[in-house]
């Protein structure tokens, strides 16, 4: 069960405006694990994530989600694939004109045939899962950055997806709030068996939650393994520099 591949990235190349940022990247994400995409700023973490969810057109390669290719998927296939995962964007991307509960209820309204009271109740349940039950009627502008991110996780989970993609969940959060979010991710992974794919560079956070990680550098994968393992037994100088925060060594590598 643990070994079952849920996402397979095969020789993915991606970039913008003629500039290649990732070339020939291949890796697997296994069912139920918390998978971390690591890398410095500008290493292509977000690009990789956004290609995996089909937001940007990849240059070449495939992203198989439960065996179906996300790259270039259209129509019913794309819709079926989109329902398999939820995404939390870096800034939360909650709609400012709706309360937290309405934000969570929006995908339910558009994608299910549940009656109104069921949607409202389900939105509250999801918010309670992320610890925001009592803030259901707040507007995003009336809450803090950490709450916005947690609400964004609740919205991403609204349709019970098996996979959650999180883009920089810890960015801009204080250590406590960031640790709370880590706890939430671990709990969701443990209780609901949700597979997480997280782009991050917060070392403290990834040791706490990551089962496996890849480190991106120069458009490719510099290392793969569990975060703690990468820190303790770095396979090369760049990995060592990254985990020990040594800019000198990183420049030399």
């Amino acid at each position: 069960m643990q070994e079952e591949k849920i996402i397979e990235v095969r020789r993915l190349s991606a970039g913008y405006a003629g500039r290649t940022i990732l070339s020939d990247v291949s890796f697997d994400v296994r069912q139920g694990e918390i998978f971390i995409i690591l890398g410095g700023s500008g290493s292509g973490k977000s690009t990789l994530l956004k290609n995996m969810i089909g937001l940007y057109p990849a240059i070449s390669g495939e992203v198989l989600i439960r065996g179906e290719n996300m790259i270039g998927a259209v129509g019913a296939v794309r819709e079926r694939l989109l329902r398999q995962f939820g995404v939390m964007y870096q800034g939360g991307a909650l709609f400012g004109s709706m309360t937290l509960a309405e934000n969570v209820a929006l995908p339910l309204e558009e994608c299910t045939r549940l009656p109104r009271e069921a949607r409202a109740l389900l939105a509250r349940l999801k918010l309670q899962q992320v610890g925001l039950g009592q803030f259901a009627d707040y507007l995003p502008s009336e809450t803090s950055g950490g709450m916005v991110k947690r609400a964004a996780v609740a919205r991403a989970m609204a349709l019970d997806p098996g996979i959650l993609f999180l883009d920089e969940p810890s960015a801009g959060l204080d250590p406590i709030t960031s640790a709370e979010l880590d706890e939430l991710i671990r709990a969701l992974s443990r209780d609901y068996g949700i597979t997480f794919v997280i782009a991050s560079h917060e070392l403290a956070s990834i040791y706490a939650i990551g089962d496996r990680a890849i480190l991106l550098e120069n458009g490719g994968i510099a290392a793969e393994g569990s975060p703690v393992q990468l820190r303790d037994n770095p396979p090369n100088d760049y990995v060592r520099a990254f985990f020990r925060r040594e800019p000198e060594r990183a420049r030399a590598a």
Binding site: A118, L122, L139, D191
Partner: protein, 378 residues
Amino acid sequence: MATDSAGQSAPLRVESSGSETILALSGTLDDAAVALCWSRALGAARTSQGPVRVDCARVDYCGGAGFALLVALAEMAQERKQSFVVDDLAPQFRSMYDGIDRSKLGQAETPQREKYGPVASVGQAVADRAAEWREETEFVGEVGVGLAGLGREPRRLRLREWWVMVEKAGTNALPIVALISFLMGMIMAFQAAMPMRQFGVDLFVVNLVALAITRELGPLMTAIVLAGRSGSAFAAEIGTMKVNEEVAALTTMGLSPVRFLAVPRVLAGIVVTPVLTVYSMAIGVAGGLAVMMMLGFPLATLMHQLSGSLRVDDVLAGLIKSFFFGAVVAGVGCLRGLQTGAGAAAVGDSTTRSVVTAIFLIVLLDAVFAVIYYQLKF
């Protein structure tokens, strides 16, 4: 076995034994299944005469919607003071169901939002308006000072960025201004030619078109087009900068956002609008002449009539206005941009407000000029 209207096997069977109502759920309780049986399940719970038991022995998956159904049933039973049990839910779902704290679900806090009574809201509106006037007056003053400062020190204008503004607001507006002016001239000539022909004075349509276009419609239409495409762009651009805290960054660097952002744009507006206006006048008159030629007048006659009727004063009268129109359009766009509040909707609001205010001020200014020109017999 109960079936729903579509004939599929429903995930819910309602049974009763004695006073007890048994809701037997089965299969995959995802949103589609729950949507099918939600109202029937709650209906059964609402009419039950005794305890309610939910039998989940045959449930193989329970998603969020399934939990929502169980919670709704539990709430219903609690409301009707009936006992409620969920039986035989698979252990992994059981622990999730037990993790739901129903007592807290209903207790959402109501956010504290300021609410005013009628008197206070009137007062607040007046205070807001007064603050806005103050802001607007300061803005006009600061733009004036900024422009004067540029006159003394022209090198402070960031020329490369300014040229881009001129290009966007001016050069790129040429096609739309041309199209609208040409059509205005044509329409006016055509509409006037028919009634005037009845009196045999249709040659004087040239006078009418030339006068109306140069004194009024050329400057007015150009300014309105610019308000729609450039003033609004300034408002959206500066508004987005404000939302992204770029305006705050300017302030903390000790740079005045008005001088840095608004002054070059207002200058661009002042430079570009008169040029576009003259262009619009020429094309508008050409549109009128085109119609007259279609009606059978030779070009030489029309040109003779035109040179006899159109004075330099008429063109000047339109041109002078256009400087002010340009300043108003660009200034209002920048002002509304700087007044932007927080969020994506605020940018939309300031864009709307910039267009509405600019058009209103253009028309108002035009009326003022009409009075002044009349008094001066210009």
